[in-house]
């Protein structure tokens, strides 16, 4: 059984979708308020999408100093799974747990539509159960979705099939070197059931649940 924390910042709005999707895959998923400082009871953590702290200053800039982030950083350092989706991805970059930064989309449009994404690296906690080269369709829902990485060190995990927002290397998801910290811009939890039009996102979330399982199958 996996026990996964889903962090709720003031302004998060995807936490219930993430919790629902993870529970439907058999994981224990608990909402955790951003002021909590201890995540020792959890095997992994998800930073969900939304507008944490109103996106003031820069997306994720204030959220990275929320008390919970010390525990998230510890988890990352210990090699436990840390996944940021959309705004969560922005927070992980601001916290320097992932390289680069997310800036406004190239065409200055808020992009809100399903996009095709190719999984190119299956050595991470979010992609380990996926066949390399698999193309999944996931809803993208962001304005600051263009990943830029002056250091050039980002490990690209998934690529947009078409260049939708100007992201460097067409990165839709990146990971740290160890592969236990992953940021993804489109939303796997919003395509986790047929009733939502696609359940492609399950493939990714299943990997996360497997990676957080205390008794590996």
């Amino acid at each position: 059984m996996s026990r996964i924390a889903v962090v709720v910042f003031p302004g998060s709005n995807c936490e219930l979708d993430v919790q629902w999707a993870l529970r439907s895959l058999g994981a224990e998923a608990e909402l955790v308020w951003h002021r909590q400082t201890d995540l020792a009871d959890f095997d992994g953590v998800v930073l969900p999408g939304g507008f944490a702290h109103g996106d003031y200053l820069r997306t994720g800039a204030i959220a990275r100093f929320s008390p919970v982030m010390s525990a998230v950083t510890r988890m990352a350092e210990e090699g436990r799974p840390v996944v940021g989706i959309c705004n969560g991805f922005q927070i992980l970059c601001e916290a320097h747990l992932l390289p680069g930064a997310l800036i406004a989309n190239r065409d200055l449009r808020f992009i809100c539509r399903p996009v095709e994404v190719e999984i190119v690296d299956t050595g991470t906690v979010l992609t380990a159960s996926v066949e390399p080269g698999t193309v999944v369709t996931l809803p993208l829902n962001s304005y600051e979705g263009q990943h830029t990485d002056p250091s050039g060190t980002a490990r690209v995990v998934a690529r947009y099939v078409e260049d939708v927002n100007g992201s460097q290397d067409r990165a839709a998801a990146i990971a740290n070197e160890a592969g236990n910290v992953v940021g993804i811009m489109p939303h796997p939890e919003r395509s986790s059931e047929e009733i939502l039009g696609s359940d492609d996102g399950r493939l990714l979330l299943e990997s996360l649940v497997a990676a957080t399982d205390r008794i590996p199958a």
Binding site: I103, A104, R106, D107, L108, Q146, T148, P150, S151
Partner: protein, 80 residues
Amino acid sequence: MKVTVHIERRPEIADPEGTAISRSLVDLGYGDVHSVRTGRTLHLEVEGDDAETVKKLVDEMCQRLLANPVIEDYRIEVEG
């Protein structure tokens, strides 16, 4: 003391907003405009008497929160 912080993207980082403004100026007939870069200015009031000490403190604030050193440069002006 009054402190002004100017923050802007590093030249090699895209600035889609600046690009859009630049295009709009050209559309308005200002063909002499080659480029526009946007930035952000913050005005702070900080307790202290010594400009150097205050500047150092604000520099720390920029490194930690006000700017994102991964993609931005900043300039601090302390008003004596």
